[in-house]
């Protein structure tokens, strides 16, 4: 499922060192920053409090988040300043701070948002190199006057409040974080896709009342057989949960019904009294499920097995790619089978949707029609007409 060409992929992140004379040196590899990640954003903060700027990196590829501890040599001084506005905005965003030290003037401004999609710490960090004494600090508050602070020592943290007579010393803190690199988690072929908005299915596809699992499988697909065996083994639990299993075999009619696979699945379960029996799909049934899959997934798959959890009212709730873990299915049947959450609480992971998002039922109708699924096309057109879509959450 992860195929496709790269485009300027596998590029190493870069780091450039300021040589102080208008020129920089490429220190990408030697600094340890040259990850192959598809990097997007970087945010800076002296996270561990040891007096240099650490980095959070946000990537497209996994790991999508990295923390890099800066191991600047000890003995380089710094000054750390936290501003608070009283006349200007309280964050003092836009304040410009001059630190005069060692015959140089170091200027920083307090920004909210820079780079790309990133915001760094509001604590202003001044690296001071070998400077041993800070002469003075000048804060130009946004929309206000400049204010001078004196008596600040290097290697300390201060709070500077607009209008306050002096800088306030903040407690020192330095922690040791151990090296702990991470790597991308390898892909697996399976996934559980909880629909953001449930999708009503036409009565023919939804079948009888009650929650059900429609499963597409083939006798030539080993994971399919394993999955069926696993479900068969939990037949009693599925019965109790009130979940009907409808395995649809994609193999040719000639091999039906004495399918080895069917036989194998029953034998494997050690019994022949299963509550569910694989059957052949009706005309257009698989075509329709494939159309639904393309509608639901941004990148549909041809892989098997694939399963559809349908609630008691005939709405598709969850798509499973690859084999289902029976325990997950039982939990899903409980949560999504009878009275599924309609709104913001749905999802494969704990969280909330802010916005509702209606499905493009007209688009789905058109896809059905393009495949000569006329009945289904009419169903979705009618649905779109009636606006029988769960209403958006907040919009």
């Amino acid at each position: 499922m992860d195929g496709g060409n790269s485009w300027s992929g596998r590029e190493r992140n870069c780091a450039y060192l300021n040589l102080g004379d208008g020129r920089f040196a490429d220190v990408s590899a030697i600094s340890g920053l040259d990850y192959l990640d598809d990097g997007r954003a970087a945010a800076l903060t002296d996270w561990d409090g040891d007096g240099d700027l650490d980095l959070f990196l946000r990537n497209r590829t996994g790991p999508v988040l990295r923390f890099l501890r800066n191991d600047e040599e000890r003995g380089r001084s710094f000054l750390s300043l936290r501003l608070e506005g009283t006349q200007c905005n309280r964050d003092a965003i836009g304040a410009v701070v001059d630190v005069f030290a060692g015959g140089k003037r170091f200027v920083r401004q307090l920004a909210a948002g820079d780079g790309y999609l990133a915001q760094s710490s509001k604590t202003l960090h001044f690296g001071l190199g070998t400077v041993e004494k800070v002469d003075r600090v000048l804060v130009r508050w946004p929309g206000g006057d400049a204010q001078e602070f004196s008596g600040l020592e290097p290697n300390q943290r201060y709070a500077l409040m607009q209008g306050a007579p002096a800088a306030r010393l903040l407690p020192a803190r330095s922690v040791e974080l151990p090296a702990a690199p991470v790597a991308a988690r390898p892909s697996s072929g399976s996934a559980r896709v909880v629909l953001r908005t449930p999708l009503p299915l036409p009565p023919a596809a939804a079948g009888s009342t009650g929650p059900k699992l429609i499963n597409l499988w083939s006798r030539t697909c080993a994971p399919c057989l394993e999955e069926l065996r696993g479900l068969a083994a939990r037949d009693q639990d599925l019965r109790v949960a009130g979940l009907a299993c409808l395995p649809l075999c994609l193999d040719s009619t000639a091999e039906w019904p004495e399918s080895e696979a069917l036989f194998a699945s029953r034998v494997a379960a050690g019994r022949s009294d299963l509550s569910f029996a694989p059957r052949l799909p009706c005309e257009g049934e698989v075509e329709f499920l494939r159309t639904v899959l393309e509608h639901v997934l941004a990148r549909p798959t041809d892989g098997l097995p694939v399963s559809f959890l349908v609630d008691r009212d005939g709405r598709l709730q969850i798509v499973y790619l690859g084999p289902i873990a029976p325990d997950q299915l039982l939990a899903d049947a409980k949560r999504y089978g009878e009275k599924p959450p309609l709104g913001s609480e749905r999802g494969a992971f704990p969280g909330r949707w802010f916005s509702g998002m209606p499905r493009d039922l007209r688009g789905l109708a058109a896809s059905c029609r393009a495949r000569n699924l006329e009945e289904q096309a009419r169903f979705y057109e009618a649905l779109a007409q009636e606006g029988q879509v769960p209403p958006p959450q907040r919009e």
Binding site: L19, G39, G62, G94, G115, H125, P178, A180, R185, G351
Partner: protein
């Protein structure tokens, strides 16, 4: 070679063939009729690769690149002399090699780095050598004892200068570490190639050294502690060790696709304990994460309890005190909405304002400042494409004016936020493909000015004149017409004013093609604009008089690959801002087709 054909190449290298990069079938059926122009651009973008075309230099590139990759493999094995004797097969008889690791030069110590630099001018004259094995043995001598050496070449100019001969400009990079001692070499070489009877295997006739850096340090500057900081998050492996390519086929297509990974992050102290915390924006169906820092530097993930585990695709995020009540509120760009959640002072949030754009395009980067100096923070929000990324085609691609508008939202609390984009003059040149913006008072007149990085064309520098804005980018020589993706302001030269770092795209293919004499022949202005497009990152020095100077070449910082969020970051801790460049566009299972 007709005009549209040459346009095709420009599009192919600069934009990337997104239609190829993504599986074609996932693109929606085209129902709306396309204009002839759209059809042309789409066809040209998607279907041409320079190698399919008749650019001879791209064929030469392919062969030279193949040889250099093999050479790099041999050099990386370094070690014993027998391996290096093998390099002679890449060279023509009596090839002339400059000393690739010259003596002398200028030596500087900055932080933990010791840098020895030889430019073409500084390199002392030394006799050219003809024994490649000896030259490379000397080049690689500093890696003696290194457990592993990496060697890479990047080839970015190709020109035929004589029958059977061509020149390439090549970036050479080598790195190795022996226990604590680390060595990196970065050099630019001009390689002359001689073609042979076998057209696939040109031989190196000579190498000139343009630039050479050798850097040593004890230990790395950065050590990854990701696993320690996020050890508490039970879903870290599920959510953060997997990328956009994974989620693309594994989540509901409703809403923004997760494929491209344009989700940001914000640092701020959400619970007022004096320690920075981290909010991480994620794609559709993946809950945003709030990592609250513990005193020992580890984190506790508490987005759900804090009320900010949004599942909607979230791009730009900011932590700021929007109502001046002394705590950090959260601003999220979710689709065409900007949602501000108010902090109750303990790090728990509740949505307080929802700002909806009048048109559907998604918001990207956010940047806040008090532009009208009335004591509260206003928000500027960028927008990139009118539909989905990769579907809205820039036209013309090097100076596109068919992007969606950005917005300035004025803080009028308690009444709410007001869209004042037009009222303050930010509707000028507000039709580009904007990815990022950042505020700074570059003219030191006391109010914040705004720089906007636009892909496919010119950037904006909106000078703030007492609450009204004028786009002075052209007059200030700060347009940086290219593939703008990120903005960072710092005083890199310590002269007291703010300079600009703009993320752009560095494309070897783009530079190879756009510098061919026949590329856009007869349309010199357009040719130059397109040449700029793939040059890489830009450093604009503030001249202090309202204008900027592009000093990227002197600074030597262009090569940032496909750069997104390059930022100034004084990691060397000496007060001279350094740079960090996150880059790389789309890594998939298959390698680049270019």
């Amino acid at each position: 070679m007709n005009r549209s054909r040459s346009h095709a190449l420009a599009l192919t290298f600069a934009m990337g063939s997104l239609a190829l990069a993504l599986p074609p079938r996932c693109w929606p059926q085209e129902n709306a009729p396309r204009t002839a122009r759209q059809q042309e651009i789409e066809e040209l973008m998607g279907k041409n690769s320079p190698l399919d075309d008749d650019w001879e230099t791209e064929i030469l590139y392919k062969h030279a690149d193949h040889e250099l990759k093999e050479l790099a493999g041999i050099l990386a094995q370094r070690g014993d002399g027998s391996a290096l004797s093998d390099v002679s097969r890449f060279f023509a008889d009596s090839s002339a090699l400059a000393p690739l690791r010259p003596e002398g030069g200028e030596v500087r110590t900055v932080g933990k780095f010791s840098i020895r630099r030889c430019g073409a001018a500084e390199a002392p004259e030394e006799a050219t050598a003809t024994d490649p094995a000896a030259v490379f043995a000397r080049l690689l001598a500093p890696f003696e004892g290194a457990a592993q050496v990496s060697v890479a070449f990047k080839l970015y100019r190709v020109e035929r200068h004589a029958p059977g001969r061509f020149n390439t400009t090549v970036l050479y990079q080598a790195f190795g570490a022996a226990s604590e001692r680390r060595v990196q070499q970065t050099a630019r070489w001009r390689i002359e190639w001689k073609e042979t009877d076998d057209p696939d295997r040109p031989l190196i006739a000579g190498i000139d050294l343009v630039h050479f850096d050798e850097i040593e340090s004890r230990g790395p500057q950065f050590t990854e502690c990701t696993g320690a900081v996020f050890a508490d998050d039970a879903l870290f492996a599920d959510l953060m060790l997997r990328g956009g390519d994974y989620w693309f086929g594994r989540s509901d297509a409703l809403g923004e696709w997760n494929y491209l990974g344009h989700n940001g992050l914000a640092v701020g102290d959400v619970n007022g304990d004096g320690l920075d915390d981290l909010y991480v924006a994620t794609g559709t169906g993946i809950p945003n994460r709030l990592y609250v820092q513990n005193p020992d530097g580890t984190t506790t993930e508490r987005a759900l309890e804090a009320g900010v585990a949004w599942l909607d695709d979230t791009k730009g995020v900011l932590l700021l005190d929007h109502d001046n009540d002394g705590d950090q509120d959260l601003v999220c760009a979710m689709g065409s909405l900007i949602v501000i959640s108010a902090n109750d002072g303990t790090g728990t949030f509740a949505p307080a304002h929802m700002l909806r754009a009048a048109t559907p395009p998604n918001f990207y980067s956010l940047a806040a400042a008090d532009y009208d100096l009335d004591g509260d923070l206003d928000i500027y929000a960028c927008r990139y494409v009118k539909t989905r990324y990769g579907e809205s085609l820039p036209d013309p691609f090097h100076d596109a004016r068919n992007g969606p508008p950005n917005h300035l939202l004025r803080n009028d609390l308690p009444a709410g936020f007001m869209d004042v984009t037009a009222e303050v003059g930010l509707d000028a040149n507000n039709d580009r493909f904007s990815l990022a913006a950042s505020w700074a008072d570059y003219d030191a007149d006391g109010d914040p000015d705004l720089y906007v990085a636009n892909d496919f064309g010119r950037n904006n520098l909106y000078r703030n004149d007492g609450g009204k804005f004028v786009d002075v980018a052209a007059a200030a020589q700060a347009e940086d017409q290219a593939a703008g993706m990120g903005v960072s302001w710092e005083d890199f030269d310590l002269d007291g004013d703010f300079d600009l770092l703009v993320s752009n795209m560095f494309s070897g293919a783009g530079q190879r093609i756009a510098y061919q004499p026949r590329f856009k022949a007869g349309a010199e202005a357009e040719r130059q604009e397109i040449q700029r497009h793939s040059l890489g990152n830009t450093l604009l020095r503030n001249n202090g008089d309202g204008t900027f100077a592009d000093v990227s070449d002197d600074a030597g910082i262009r090569m940032g690959r496909w750069a997104f969020g390059a930022v100034f970051a004084d990691f060397g801790n000496d007060g001279w801002p350094d740079m960090v460049v996150p880059n790389g566009f789309l890594t998939n299972e298959l390698k680049d087709d270019l």
